[in-house]
């Protein structure tokens, strides 16, 4: 993968608004954002209602995904371009999630909804109608998703990247500061994890930094290119953003997203935890 194969610009999207092989998909945490205005032709995915199971603490199954994408009029051969608010956190999560189920033509709109709005580009409240498809998902790709046992084994052996803010990493906050403080049972981070807040990978307008800047950013944090990498945050959406940078833009081979993230790890009994600004020892 590379920047060219994974990212598209706002200009590219404007040029492809009428391209039938391209489906724009807005994914938000605040699902009302789409209803107020979205890029013309874009369909909506609600991060919580559409992509979370609702009973199990997990995202929706392959079968539910097939039903969802079929109903939204998304076909197996379509190029799906995700964008959204929160600097593309939830769009990157959806990108990662569709990668997990094997969709081949995926893109992220560089800068997401914010860049589009700051450029004063067109938004509409009109909801497009798309003919239903028969979507067939592939079997889950375990090479891009980490579960808790693998994360515990990775302490001191793999690259662990904590992409939350410094205050969350150190244990001073339990959740991002625009949300009420509720999450894991305790604060802190997984020992040996480096702290590279997702925001360091993005410019103020939400676009990704250059390849050279990104490589330097993770190298400075001690990322060893010869080792496998696991990224995590609080609930797996910001770490999808960093997974996207490492795997899809920079093309590092073995990068996983730990979507259980701190909300799970910080509630586990009897696992090692580090407090403060330093990674801590294995």
């Amino acid at each position: 993968m590379s920047r060219e194969s994974a990212l598209v610009t706002a200009d590219w999207v404007e040029e492809h608004l009428d391209d039938p092989s391209v489906v724009l998909v807005e994914v938000d945490e605040d699902a009302e954002a789409y209803d107020k205005g979205h890029i013309p032709g874009a369909v909506k995915l609600d991060w919580k209602k559409d992509l979370q199971d609702g009973v199990r603490h997990d995202f929706v199954s392959k079968e539910k995904l097939e039903a969802l994408l079929s109903a939204k009029g998304i076909g197996n051969d379509d190029t799906v371009v995700f964008y959204g608010g929160n600097n593309n956190w939830f769009a990157a999560y959806a990108y990662w999630y569709l990668s997990y189920y094997g969709h081949e033509n995926l893109r992220l709109l560089d800068g997401g909804r914010k860049k589009w709005e700051l450029d004063s580009r067109e938004l509409t409240a009109e909801v497009p109608s798309r003919e239903a498809t028969t979507y067939t998902a592939k079997d889950a790709d375990g090479s891009i998703r980490a579960f808790r046992d693998e994360v515990i084994e990775a302490i001191g052996t793999k690259n662990l990247i904590d992409v939350r803010s410094p205050d969350e990493y150190a244990g001073r906050l339990l959740a991002p500061a625009h949300l009420p403080q509720e999450a894991a049972q305790i604060g802190g981070h997984i020992p040996t994890a480096g702290n590279v807040p997702w925001s360091k990978a993005a410019n103020d307008d939400g676009t990704f930094r250059s390849d050279d800047e990104l490589k330097e950013l993770y190298a400075d944090a001690g990322l060893d290119e010869g080792r496998d990498t696991i990224a995590y945050c609080r609930i797996g959406e910001r770490s999808s953003h960093t997974w996207f940078v490492l795997k899809e833009i920079l093309g590092y081979p073995n990068v996983k997203n730990y979507d259980g993230s701190w909300s799970e790890y910080g509630s586990l009994r009897s696992v090692p935890v580090a407090l403060g600004d330093e990674p801590g020892a294995a």
């Binding site: 700051l118 205050d167 625009h178």
Partner: protein, 98 residues
């Protein structure tokens, strides 16, 4: 609880006692700006959170006690930085003009 609060969104239903709230309104020429983005930067200048303003130009953060910077981005404007101090049980109000 009483007291008129100018600027930020209504605090009905918010547990102000246990939160360090930073909130306010973004305006241009006295009119609310509903399509701005407000970023919360910590004492080292590191990004902590970001919210879009509401249709009425308002925003709110649940921060921790301490010194923070708000960086406001709006269409056709340069970004504006504002310093603010947050404390538990206090609502810090910030008016931003772009």
């Amino acid at each position: 609880m009483c007291g008129a609060i100018k600027g930020g969104p209504s605090l009905d239903g918010v547990d102000v006692e246990n939160q360090a709230v930073i909130q306010g309104i973004v305006t241009r020429d006295g009119q609310p700006v509903g399509n701005a983005y407000v970023r919360l930067l910590d004492r080292t200048g590191e990004f902590t959170a970001e919210v879009p303003t509401s249709a009425t130009g308002q925003f709110r953060f649940f921060a921790g006690p301490g010194e923070w910077t708000l960086r406001t981005l709006a269409p056709k404007s340069i970004s504006v930085d504002s310093s603010v101090t947050a404390a538990k049980g206090v609502v810090a109000e910030v008016a931003v003009a772009v």
